[in-house]
Symmetry: C2
Subunit: 207 residues, 2 copies
């Protein structure tokens, strides 16, 4: 399926469609219309049709979408048919949680290395991967092609680690340090957990 | 400032404005125009002006926005002037990371209790709070008014915990279990860490 130019907003909705379709498949639902999908997800039905049209459309008028086909297509558009090699820098609580998150393996994300600066963490085993000294990261990256670098360090070290990853040909950064990192020639997702907490605070205050 | 009816999309942008303004304040920037803010954030300048107009507008034509005033106003709209009492259910890696996240205290979120089911975690101290047996959660909630319940359990237990929280007058649920919980009469934020990972995969595949 040939892809057209896709807006940022559509790209951000794709993971939500993907999760919803996985959920529908689990519930044994084989076919769904855009208006049923709209009810499930709270997105506008015409927006859903428009989004899918960006990729050539998968539905048939009066029939709707076949869940398994749509799931497979969106997974393929998201690149979830590939295997991605990951390193995690920072073996604190968040780093540990991610290293141990079993579903990553199922979805094609393979943790190849975990790094930390703390002597008491170096050498520990995390789901089959030994935590290495972060001073060996350069050498490791020179020898192992890595797709995604996950930053779980203190905020003070995040930018330096990001620069090091990119300098060593890592083209995607998933940053959990509570500060935005900025790099060129790589994609970055700065994760802000507190954004959703603020939304809750808003609703508590304004309800 | 009297609030008008505010769309979901605007509410979701507010935390981003708030973070950006904190950052600007740290950099010593006192005044900013909507087009400068647009450059910093990648949002359209007219969208920024429209968003702020939802709350009565804070700027002056030809002058722009005063960063400290705007920061204070948006913080107040988000309800960050209040103190929120929190409980965390699940003292695994994510629960620990959140309990130890020092910035929550600064921002008015106060962890009042942490609960788990595992005997080896019960009794442990997490940043000044002792982990309690989850079987005592009902009694605790009856005696302590709690604003936000944070769910960091296995996915199998998440819905049951959510129901228990809401039954005990907790009106906001921040859910990190990798399954959506659904409740009535409370606000829920289901956090999906993998969404941003999928976006990275998309970019790696389509760049």
């Amino acid at each position: 399926m040939k892809e057209r130019r896709v807006s940022e907003a559509v790209i951000r909705r794709l993971p939500k469609y993907y999760r919803q379709l996985q959920e529908l498949e689990k519930r044994g639902i084989e076919r769904i219309s855009s208006s049923e999908l709209s009810n499930e997800m709270g997105f506008n039905a015409s927006q859903i049709r428009q989004d899918f049209n960006c990729f050539g459309g998968f539905g048939q008028q009066g029939y709707g979408y076949q869940v398994s086909v749509l799931l497979k297509e969106i997974g393929s558009i998201l690149g979830l048919t590939h295997v991605y090699n990951i390193v995690i820098i920072g073996a604190g609580n968040i780093g540990k949680a991610l290293a141990r998150y079993a579903d990553f393996g199922k979805e094609g994300y393979c943790v190849k290395g975990v790094f930390d600066i703390r002597p008491d963490l170096i050498g520990k085993n995390l789901s089959g991967v030994t935590v290495s000294d972060v001073s060996t990261l350069d050498v490791f990256l020179a020898e192992n092609p890595i797709d995604i670098g996950v930053i779980c360090t203190q905020k003070e070290n995040a930018q330096e680690i990001a620069d090091k990853l990119v300098a060593n040909n890592v083209h995607a950064i998933w940053n959990f340090a509570p500060i935005d990192v900025h790099v060129e020639n790589a994609s970055v997702e700065n994760v802000h957990l507190s954004d959703s907490l603020y939304v809750l605070s808003y609703r508590l205050t304004n309800s």
